[in-house]
């Protein structure tokens, strides 16, 4: 099994997201769906039953105009490093944490569809296939051959475009290298972002963007006190935005704005 293999070099892949740069264009969301063969939404799908491995939210500071400020907040699997909730609760080990990369990956072929992992995830980054996936006629030609499509009744989630990691390993092997070079393995969302708001890298490499963000006092992570050690570092110059990660600071219940 993958978890039992001894890795040559331990990477801890993470992301650094600058929410001051994100414009909410959604290119990352679409690139993710294209790369990972996520099917178009069923006509009856809503924002609670759709599949968006990466989802951008609009979050505001709770004030009204003119003091209202908003940011766009990309949310993907936080790849929890400690006490990974989904990994611990899956009854048939359909979730595995790869020690070589730190990526928490989901095996849809093993998944029973009990959705316990979805209840366990505080970041709501897991999605269930409520319908059979359907692509319009001809569109299956545009599917990525490196990623298996999933069927109805299984859970799926972001895995940092693991297929691209495999491809990068292959290229490194063909070039006679043992490790992939940084920059050769880039998830689809990172590549697609026109503003460069999402950066990717190895947290064990002090020169990578996530490692630098980890040390930046203007960075924050979500729900840190839960003890899950998420590997996505968000950054903002605005103090109110940095409190997004702290649920006790949430604005009081009111009629919500959409998003």
């Amino acid at each position: 099994m993958i978890s039992e293999r001894k890795p040559a070099k331990i990477c801890r892949y993470g992301m650094a997201v600058d929410i001051d740069k994100c414009t909410g264009c959604g290119a990352c969301m679409i690139a993710c769906a294209v790369e990972n063969n996520v099917p178009p939404g069923n006509p009856d799908a809503t924002d609670l039953t759709g599949i968006t491995w990466l989802r951008v939210f609009k979050v505001d500071n709770g004030e009204e105009y003119p003091r209202k400020e908003s940011v766009y907040f990309p949310m993907m699997c936080q790849q929890c490093g400690v006490e990974t909730p989904c990994y611990l609760v899956c009854p048939q080990q359909a979730v595995d944490v790869d020690p070589a990369t730190g990526i928490v990956f989901q095996m849809p072929e093993r998944c029973l569809g009990c959705r316990y992992c979805m209840a366990a995830c505080p970041y709501h980054s897991r999605y269930f296939n409520w319908w059979d996936p359907k692509w319009p006629a001809g569109m299956e030609k545009t599917l990525n051959p490196d990623v298996a499509p999933r069927m109805r009744g299984v859970v799926e989630k972001c895995n940092y475009c693991h297929g691209r990691w495999h491809a990068a390993r292959q290229r490194a092997a063909e070039a006679g290298e043992t490790e992939i070079s940084p920059g050769d393995y880039v998830p689809a969302c990172v590549e697609a972002c026109p503003a460069g708001a999402i950066q990717f890298g190895d947290l064990n490499d002090p020169t990578s963007a996530p490692a630098i963000a980890a040390k930046d006092p203007e960075s924050f992570r979500l729900l840190v006190k839960l003890g899950t050690d998420p590997k996505v570092y968000y950054h903002s110059k605005r103090e109110w935005a940095r409190r997004i990660g702290d649920p006790s600071q949430a604005p009081s219940p009111k009629e919500p704005s959409r998003g």
Binding site: G113, M118, L223, K225
Partner: protein, 423 residues
């Protein structure tokens, strides 16, 4: 027509009347099977569950019926291990109820998962860290135990007993009843507990997450205790209901009162420990997770009242059931048993539905969930199947050994259930 199959010494209504009783339940079962069939064929989009409400009506009702069906193991434990002889009067009924509760829960789980064909994966690739693995193993094994315990009840039927092999088989099986009771208790301890552990380990849901005792969260033990407390109440309730519907005296009043007292004692222990646990959870566990207790009850409609109702539904029956004068009166006895059962339902509801409704991220919205008719129908199938199997068992098998003696005795104290002769 089927007189030959009805146990000797008891009277049952005519076949026609029985079929008339069965007919609406059979219709309900058909509707429920159709609903379940829709969910299996078309997929879980037939329900109103979604990515935030990953668990809905089915899991909530599964947990509730398993808690209520705990009467099966607990009565067995009390009778065969702790030698509480008076419970022999209800053990068969308890086994049938337990079988239907657990069988129904497993059937609904088969519809609830997205890939029922892969149900065996949990046994083939078990995850030792996961509470759900423990639940699956223990419930499957316990269902087998219940089936084995049900077999003698069936084989003791008047006609089936005439086959020598069956008679020998059930007699030999009965010698092992202590083993099965012990195994059943052991398994139930673990699966009732791990059902509680399902939620108590959810680090990502501070509303459900609890401190650990050993390797188990406190909800592990609280679920066992609440199930053990409410199991006897449910047996009490169902026995009284069956007496009322059939118009027969099935057990002596002392049996029901004994069940009530056991329930009351365990409720007392439960209320004490639950109060302690709640205080620790609100004051220590929650702030450590970075949340504020007030956030749990800030969202309508789940205000603090739901916590108060949950506690009241355990506290009030506890008081009544521990007061001998009140316990002796059927009205108080039965209504407090019903309250305790509702209390456990509210407790499971809070941990299933409220946990998922509450936001975790600071920009989450509070969500509402109402089950679809397909979900409700599927569960009604379980109810209908339970009533059907119980009715058939009641008619053809000896569920209440005391019934024969009570039929011969004159009706006694006015507080007992009225005997309508010759139904």
């Amino acid at each position: 027509m089927d007189r030959r199959f009805i146990p000797a010494g008891v009277s049952r209504c005519s076949t026609a009347k029985f079929l008339l009783w069965l007919a609406p339940w059979a219709a309900l079962l058909a509707f429920g099977l159709y609903s379940a069939g829709l969910c299996l064929v078309k997929g879980l989009n037939q329900t109103h569950m979604n990515n935030r409400f990953a668990f809905g009506l089915w899991i909530f009702l599964d947990l509730t019926v398993i808690a209520l069906g705990a009467g099966a193991f607990f009565t067995g434990f009390l009778l065969y291990i702790l030698k509480r002889k008076e419970l022999r009067a209800v053990i068969n009924s308890a086994v049938v109820i337990g079988l239907m509760c657990y069988g129904g829960a497993m059937a609904v789980l088969g519809v609830d998962v997205g890939q029922p064909l892969r149900a065996w994966f949990t046994f083939w690739y078990p995850n030792v860290h996961s509470m759900l693995t423990e639940v699956t193993f223990c419930i499957s094994c316990y269902l087998t135990v219940l089936l084995i315990e049900y077999v003698p009840i069936v084989l003791k039927n008047r006609k089936l007993r005439q086959i020598p092999h069956f008679l020998v088989f059930q007699h030999e099986l009965h010698k092992l009843v202590y083993v099965f009771a012990g195994v059943g208790t052991f398994l139930s301890f673990f699966h009732q507990g791990s059902l509680g552990g399902l939620y108590g380990v959810l680090r990502g849901r501070p509303f459900a997450f609890r401190e650990e005792l050993g390797i188990w969260p406190t909800t592990f033990f609280l679920f066992i205790l609440s199930a053990a407390a409410v199991g006897p109440s449910f047996i009490l309730l169902t026995t009284w209901l069956v007496q009322k519907i059939s118009g027969k005296r099935l057990v002596r009043p002392q049996v029901l009162q004994s069940l009530g007292r056991i329930s009351g004692l365990l409720l007392a222990a439960y209320v004490l420990l639950k109060t302690l646990d709640t205080l620790v959870w609100l004051n220590r566990t929650t702030p450590r997770s970075g949340f504020l207790p007030a956030q749990y009850y800030a969202w309508k409609p789940f205000g603090v009242w739901i916590l108060a109702v949950e506690m009241a539904l355990f506290l009030v029956p506890m008081v009544i059931l521990l007061t001998p004068k009140l316990r002796a009166r059927a009205g108080w006895l039965v209504s407090s048993a019903a309250m305790a059962c509702c209390g456990v339902a509210v407790n499971r509801f809070v941990l299933t539905i409220q946990t998922l409704a509450l936001p975790t991220l600071s920009f989450d919205r509070f969500l509402q969930y109402l089950p679809s008719w397909q979900e409700t129908g599927t569960f009604l199938a379980v109810l209908a199947a339970a009533v059907l199997v119980y009715s058939i068992s009641f008619r053809y098998f000896e569920l209440f050994p005391e019934e024969r003696e009570l039929r011969r005795e004159p009706s006694g104290r006015p507080e007992t259930a009225p005997a309508m002769a010759g139904k």
